[in-house]
Amino acid sequence: MTKIVFKNIHRENSHTLAVYRANGGYQTLEKALSMPGDDIIDEVKRSGIRGRGGAGFPAGLKWSFIPKDDRAKYLVCNADEGEPGTCKDRDIIRYDPHLLIEGMIIAGHAVKAERGYIYIRGEFVREAEVLQAAVEEAYAAGLLGGSVMGRGVRFDLAVHRGAGAYVCGEETGLLESLEGKKGQPRLKPPFPANIGLYGGPTVVNNVETLASVPDIIANGGAWYAKLGVEKSSGTKLFSVSGHVNKPGNFEVELGIPLKVLLEEYAGGVRGGWERLKGVIPGGSSSPILPKAVCDTVTMDYDAIGRAGSMLGSGAVIVIDQSVCIVRAIARLSRFYRHESCGQCSPCREGTGWLSQMMTRMEQGKGVPGDIELLQSVADNIQGKTICALGDAAALPVVGAIRAFREEFEYHITHGRCMVA
C-alpha cells in the first residue's frame, strides 16, 4: 500500500536531515518554490485532502480563504494531539520531523505566510526536543530563515509547547494559547483565515495534513485523489488502541473496511472478532459503533458519517465484550468535565451534569428517567457553545444510549452492570 506520511519512519535515524535528504527530502520544496502560490493551492485542492485533525475540512479550500492583502500572514501547525485514543502525529514528529517542516515551508509559500509555529502538546517533551533539533538543522542548512534555499522567500519557524489543555486542540483556543493567554476558543466568524494569530490571516493545519503536502506537490493532486475513495481521498493514519492483539499506528488508504484494519493490521480483536462489542472510530468524541455496524463499515468520512459517527482524528478504540459501556462512557464524561474551559455555560455546567449522572448510574444509583435526563442535558449542550468541545462531550453519551440502551436500563433497574 502507498505510504505518504509514514514512508520514512522505518529508516534508521529517519529524524535527521541527512537521512531525510538522502531519500529525496526537500527536493519537492525546490519544485514548490518555483511554482506560484496559487498553483500549489490548486494542486492541494485537486488532491481532495481533508483536514486530518478531526474536522475533515478540505485543506486546499482552507488555504484559498487567505485574503490577498498585505497583512502579515501566519501558518500554524496543530500538534496538540489531545483527543483520547489519538497518537499518530507523535510518530511523524519523532520519526520524520523534516517531512512536516518541508510541508510547512511549502504551505507557507503557497499562502504567503512568512512565519510559522508548531504548537505541540506540552507533555510531548522529548518529541518537542526532536522537533526543535530538526528546526535548527533546517535553519543551519538555509531551508528556513530570510531566504529559503537562497530563493528570496522568507519562512521562519518556531516550536511552541502547550501545557496540558485539551481545548487548545480547537484551532482558536490554540491561537489564544499561542498569544500567551488562557486557551479559551473564540467566536467564529471571524475565521482564522481572516483574523487569526495576532489578528492576521492564519492557516491552522494538523501535522498529518501538512506532512502529506510534499507528496501531493511532488506527484500532483490528481495522483493523490486516486488514492482512497470518492470524497475521502488519500491515505490516513489510524491509531488502533484497546482490545486488539497488535495495537499501533497504521497508514492505509481511506475506505478500508474497519474489519480489515483490525484483523489484518492490528492483529485482530482480542479473543476473536466475535468477542467484539463496539468500536469508537474517530477518537473519544465520536459515537461508538456496535459490532453489527463494524462488521461491514468502511473507514472513510462519508461511510462513518452515515453510520452515525465521525472519522475524526482516526483514533480507533476497540472494545470487547468484557467492557461495561456505562463505565466506559462515565470515564469519558469525566474527561470532558475536566477539560471544559468554562467559558460557555451549557458546556461548563452540562459536562458536570453528564459526568455526575454517568458516575451515579455506573455506581448503581441511577433512577428511572435518568436516560431521558441525560439526553436532555446533551441536547442542551449540543450546538449551543462557542466551540465543539460541548458537542464532543454530548455525542459519546447520546451515541452510547442509542447503541447500547439496554446496558443503561440494566444499570438503572438492577443497580449493577450487565457485564459480570
Binding site: G85, Y117, G180, G242, S284
Partner: protein, 165 residues
Amino acid sequence: MNASQSSPPFSEAALQQVERIFQRYPADRRQSAVMPLLHLAQKEFGGWLSQESMDYVAALVGIAPIRVYEVATFYTMYNLKPVGKYHVQVCTNISCWLCDSDAIAKTLQNKLRLSFGESSGDGRFTLTEVECLGACVNAPMLQINDDYYENLTPESVAKIIDQLP
C-alpha cells in the same frame, strides 16, 4: 547545568534561554512568551510555580501579574504547589483503562503508599492521575517528569520505580 535555585532571579544560563524564547515571536508580541517562560521557571525553581516566580515572569514579559496567573492556573502542567522529585502521572483515560490502567494505578498506590494527588513526606514522589497523554497504542502508560513509560505491566511499573536514582 547550574544547580536549580528555588526562587527568582533566573541563572545566567536561563536568562540566555529567555532571550532565545523572545526571539521566536514578533517583537511587539512578547506575551506569547508567557507559556515557555512558565515552563522554564518551573524547571528552574524546583518543579513548581510560586507567586514570586509568576510575578518574576510577568516582569520579564512586561505585563500585569494577573495575566500570568490566568495562564498558570488554566493549564494542568503548571504546578501551583510543590511536587516531589519524581512526578508520577498515570493515564487512566479510555485506551489505558481498556488495557487495565487500574492495575497500574493500584500497584503505584500500594508501592508508594500514596493516593492520587498526594506527595510523599520525604519529597521524593508525587502521584497524579492524568488525562490522555497521547501514547494510546502503547497503553497502559505513565509519565515521570519529562519521560514516557509505555506498554506497562504491574511488574514493569514496580521495577521502573525501584530503578529511579
